[in-house]
């Protein structure tokens, strides 16, 4: 790089660092906020999702700022060098991974708490709505039919709200968390491949690179599906893995 390009790279890096610092500030503030909502409104996913939706918007605004500054002035300062756009892509990926990590951890922590609280609540039997006799409960997230052993009435027994949330949302969040680092590693590899392509006039991706990426992508999807199946106590949804795999190959290459 020329001295001018090096100076541009230094300025650009300082800007990107600043954006990542602002994300850290949002994560730090949001951490307390999300935990506060979870404590004040236990087992209610709606306010958490509301807050995350607002935070997602705020985070997207920061990403948009990177693009605006790049398109406005920063991009031109690099002349013919790819260094600037590589820095942008690396920073954007780090930024996205940081936000996904924070988001996934919050939701997974809430899911773990829901599971624990739900199991505790199950220890308390509910009463038959026909005769008032106690009805034993089962570990499930759905309303199930249980016949009262005293009066034979069929009771529709609803799960505790905590368990309903755990089985309906929590298992997905925990499965995502289990596979997140593998997913990020796959995305980092994809970026390295793209950087190589850019430096080589967008040459086709070498087959060994592509095979490695596909293997990593499949491994992370499989990890996520396996974890969800384990939590639900059901067979692995292999169709989901295959359909996601097909989509991601079509999207990435």
């Amino acid at each position: 790089m020329t001295p001018e390009q090096q100076a541009a790279a230094d300025r650009w890096q300082a800007f990107l660092d600043k954006i990542e610092e602002r994300l850290e500030a949002i994560v730090a503030e949001a951490d307390a906020g999300i935990k506060g909502i979870a404590a004040a409104h236990p087992h209610e996913i709606l306010p958490i999702l509301n807050a995350l939706s607002g935070l997602d918007h705020r985070v997207r605004q920061l990403l948009k700022r990177i693009e605006e500054v790049w398109d406005g002035k920063a991009g031109r300062a690099f002349g013919g060098s790819n260094r600037g756009i590589e820095m942008k892509e690396e920073s954007t990926l780090r930024f996205n991974h940081r936000w996904q990590k924070a988001r996934t951890t919050w939701l997974a922590d809430i899911a773990r708490a829901a599971h624990q609280d739900g199991l505790k609540e199950l220890e308390e039997p509910v009463d038959c709505s026909g005769c008032g006799a106690p009805i034993p409960r089962q570990v499930t997230g759905s309303t199930i039919s249980i016949t009262c052993e005293y009066c034979n009435a069929v009771n529709q027994v609803a799960p505790p709200a905590a368990l309903r949330n755990f089985f309906h949302y929590g298992v997905d969040h925990l499965a995502e968390e289990a596979a997140l680092e593998m997913r990020h590693e796959t995305e980092r590899l994809r970026l390295r491949i793209e950087t190589w392509q850019r430096a080589n006039s967008w040459a086709p991706v070498p087959s060994d690179h592509r095979q490695k990426w596909e293997a990593m992508q499949r491994a992370h999807l499989q990890r996520q599906a396996n974890e969800k199946a384990r939590l639900l106590g059901r067979p692995v949804n292999q169709d989901w893995v295959e359909s996601r795999m097909k989509l991601s190959v079509a999207h990435e290459f």
């Binding site: 503030e29 949001a30 307390a32 906020g33 709505s129 709200a161």
Partner: protein
């Protein structure tokens, strides 16, 4: 001290300014210590208690000059509790990154949903609309006592 309407207005402004200063500082760890100290209130280990003490001093000072302005006295009587309610309802986080509104909006409708969702009991039994007998076999919707459809015939009712 005079007890004119101007005096009451001056006192109300005086109280409002102190209240704003205290509420603004309440969320800021660094600023709070110095603001609290300026009211001669030491660290009590609980910010709400410290805010209560500071507001109490403002209210006492204003009250000593409020004469017989009953509206002002009423306002001062409520000052501490109203202000505490305000700061407790406000999200305690998100101030520096500008996220307060996000967290405030996120919980805006919680009570509405909670009120409705908690009205449903943990168990529910279907009873025959003709004879009142309880359903005894899941997914069997003919009453095992009288043979009628458990939920009645909606077409007939229509």
């Amino acid at each position: 001290m005079a007890e004119s309407p101007n005096q009451a207005s001056f006192l109300a402004n005086f109280v409002a300014l102190h209240r704003t200063r205290l509420v603004d500082a309440y969320e800021d760890d660094q600023e709070w210590a110095s603001v609290r100290a300026s009211y001669d209130v030491g660290a009590l280990g609980d910010r709400n208690q410290e805010l209560r003490a500071c507001l109490g001093k403002v209210a006492a000072l204003a009250r000593s000059h409020a004469g017989d302005h009953s509206n002002l006295h009423n306002h001062l009587d409520q000052l501490v509790e109203e202000t505490l309610r305000e700061v407790e309802q406000a999200p305690s986080t998100g101030a520096s990154a500008g996220l307060s509104a996000i967290f405030a909006n996120a919980t805006a409708n919680v009570s509405w949903w909670k009120q409705r969702s908690t009205q449903v009991g943990a168990t529910f039994t279907s009873n025959c609309r003709t004879c009142g007998a309880a359903q005894e076999t899941a997914l069997l919707f003919e009453c095992e006592y009288c043979g009628d459809f458990l939920y009645g015939d909606l077409r007939e009712e229509a």
